[in-house]
Symmetry: C2
Subunit: 394 residues, 2 copies
């Protein structure tokens, strides 16, 4: 049988427009170097390497040992959906029931949200810099992506002008992400409520990605959960708040008829998620408040420490993030663009970071550092970013 | 804030055309009855409840305990990709390397294959009755689905006439599934090679779903793996061969440039799968031959036993399947259609089965029984199918 390695295959439009996530490409490149025996300082992925709550590991192991390895509901394991319903209900701000909660990998929810709400050619608004999956998912299904640039001068905060620009673009959908990846900004209650109300008034779908909500230390987090707008979808993930990105479990809270579609999409796409992973997350929710208080403090300390290394070097100026574990760093003065800087950093300084253009086409003079890995590696990696800059005479 | 429970929301075309998998709806209904304390006989889902290889559980638990809970490669964990490469390479029929193997949930691969190869309006051919996810995935992205009906008289075998009809329909893609769900048919080497060659000659994409390949007992299984056609994608799953559907791990083998797209699609859609689940599957591959020999024998015995119950009842006539654990049963003589029969069976006889129309619009007089659940439940459930038929004076 003939081998056609070089054949140019006729992929579909969607097949041709796949972007993926740049930081997973960096991860693959870094892993190949590791296989050659080279130690790599991982600052590319938001891959927290803290000890997760032992309750999660124990519950997951126990479910595995009792052979809970069959199919479960497409909408999610009832125990986890119930636990989330109770957790959100305790705020007393809005009554929800299990029918509003659907369990899916958080990254899948982004694709599902755009897929359910937008047709090819429809417009979606992102506030940039933005998490790469928004652009990857939107591009994949052929949407017209309008990026509204936030300003570094005010810490990439969301303002009324940005919201006005978003609504004027007449989009089908908007995605907002507070606490923000990659900037670490946390938007105020007033501005988020304003955005949600404007979207509601104009019949625009709104995805509120609250993945980093539990990790705010510089400013109070505000969730859009209290607002029962039919076109508002809240999403979050267990990856970051429990330091278990490898569990691949997240969730959405939405209007019943949206939740029904999301569950149907799960059923069409991946049938269901592992019961054992979901039972682990359900056990974690019992200790979330205690655990998140501890890691918030921990990440605040890391953010200060890494910002200090960068700022005292004289080569960079960065504002410490108000949440999470990312630093979105301006490298303009080094004279290299994001891809060149990242490539040299990996090759010469064994340090992996994510190029700025992963977060929007106009961020060629930025890189993102993820400071949630092993402590020694993060500190040394940050020093190496400085050393490359100094080598470039900055 | 106003509650808009009844609002008619403006979903996208794709949002409106979501079908899901009927058997998961049956599962949800059955689970609700179970929550009321009613014992349900589960014959709806291919959810094997045999003891999986302990090597899998041990490896998975061990990875969890050593906190292997971070992100891994989007293309799959290198250990599992390497183990699969070695397993397929040992046949000596074709050289592949890790770059040809991508790890994804098997159900996702179906959507990805159609998504990468077909644009809205393009034609895809299915041989029916067919696994519901093919139709669900194709309908979701707006494909023109042509179902070519196989005949019950010859055990739903695939013939040259069916292939001729498939090619004449000028499709962009064809999906073939041997060993078959729901019919249990196993197609011959000659006919599968004929189909693959015809698709290759006409530039048609071909997905060969070989999920049940290890579970053939009535006839020898033939894999299309030896054929290195650039548009041929082989897929399989660990769910059925290891009795671990809840792990949600499957894999594809394809041309390098297709595999690259599949990995990019993983990255866009769900980032990556759990490392611990993949390490479990890699450990399982070491004992697959021994394990699959045992379960093949076991499922052959079950197929005989259940077919006997049905055939000796006088109410039904069915051919024992040649593979797997499904019986696609003609209920035409009961006077009820598939939905009515399934609904009464669940309500009056606490037995869950899948209506025939999940496998194609023309199967309103069939139901599918999955005989892989708990032994006592499967036998009693099969008796209850007979009892309902007898109640209907058949």
């Amino acid at each position: 049988v003939k081998n056609n390695r070089k054949e140019d295959l006729p992929f579909s439009m969607r097949g041709k427009s796949l972007l993926g996530q740049e930081m997973f490409k960096v991860l693959d490149k870094a892993r190949r170097l590791e296989e050659e025996g080279i130690h790599i300082y991982h600052l590319e992925l938001g891959n927290p390497r803290l000890q997760p709550p032992e309750e999660i590991i124990d519950a997951c192991v126990s479910a595995l040992k009792s052979l809970d390895v069959g199919y479960t509901s497409s909408a999610g394991h009832p125990s986890l959906r119930r636990a989330l319903t109770l957790r959100y209900a305790r705020s007393g701000q809005r009554a929800i029931n299990m029918e509003n909660v659907v369990i899916s990998p958080a990254n899948v929810i982004i694709s599902q949200f755009l897929d359910l709400t937008c047709d090819r050619g429809d417009r979606v608004v992102l506030f940039t810099p933005a998490f790469p999956s928004y652009l990857a998912a939107a591009t994949h299904i052929g949407l017209d992506v309008v990026g509204i640039a936030l300003q570094s001068e005010n810490g990439y905060d969301l303002t009324e002008q940005h919201i006005e620009a978003a609504i004027s673009a007449c989009p089908k959908a908007v995605i907002v992400n507070s606490a923000n990846n990659p900037t670490g900004a946390v938007y105020s209650r007033e501005i988020l409520e304003h955005l949600a109300l404007e979207c509601h008034r104009h019949g625009i779908w709104l995805l509120s990605d609250e993945t980093y909500g539990e990790l705010c230390f510089g400013k109070m987090f505000y969730s859009l959960f209290p607002h029962d707008y039919p076109r508002l979808v809240i999403m979050s993930s267990f990856s970051k708040i429990f330091s278990i990105p490898g569990f691949r479990v997240g969730f959405s809270i939405s209007h019943e008829s949206v939740a029904e579609k999301l569950a149907l999409s799960n059923s069409t796409l991946f049938s269901c998620l592992s019961a054992f992973a979901q039972l682990g997350c359900a056990a974690g929710l019992q200790v979330l408040d205690k655990y998140s208080a501890a890691i918030r403090e921990y990440f605040a300390q890391r953010a200060r420490e890494c910002s200090n290394i960068l700022n005292t070097s004289g080569s960079f100026r960065c504002m410490p993030p108000q949440s999470g574990f990312y630093i979105f760093l301006d490298i303009g003065r080094t004279g290299l663009d994001d891809f060149a800087f990242s490539a040299r950093l990996l090759e010469e300084w064994q340090t992996a970071v994510t190029p700025g253009r992963s977060f929007g086409a106009s961020y060629a003079t930025s890189i993102r550092l993820a400071t949630c890995g092993k402590y020694e590696d993060v500190i040394e990696g940050t020093h190496r970013v400085v050393r490359l800059a100094q080598e470039l005479s900055v």
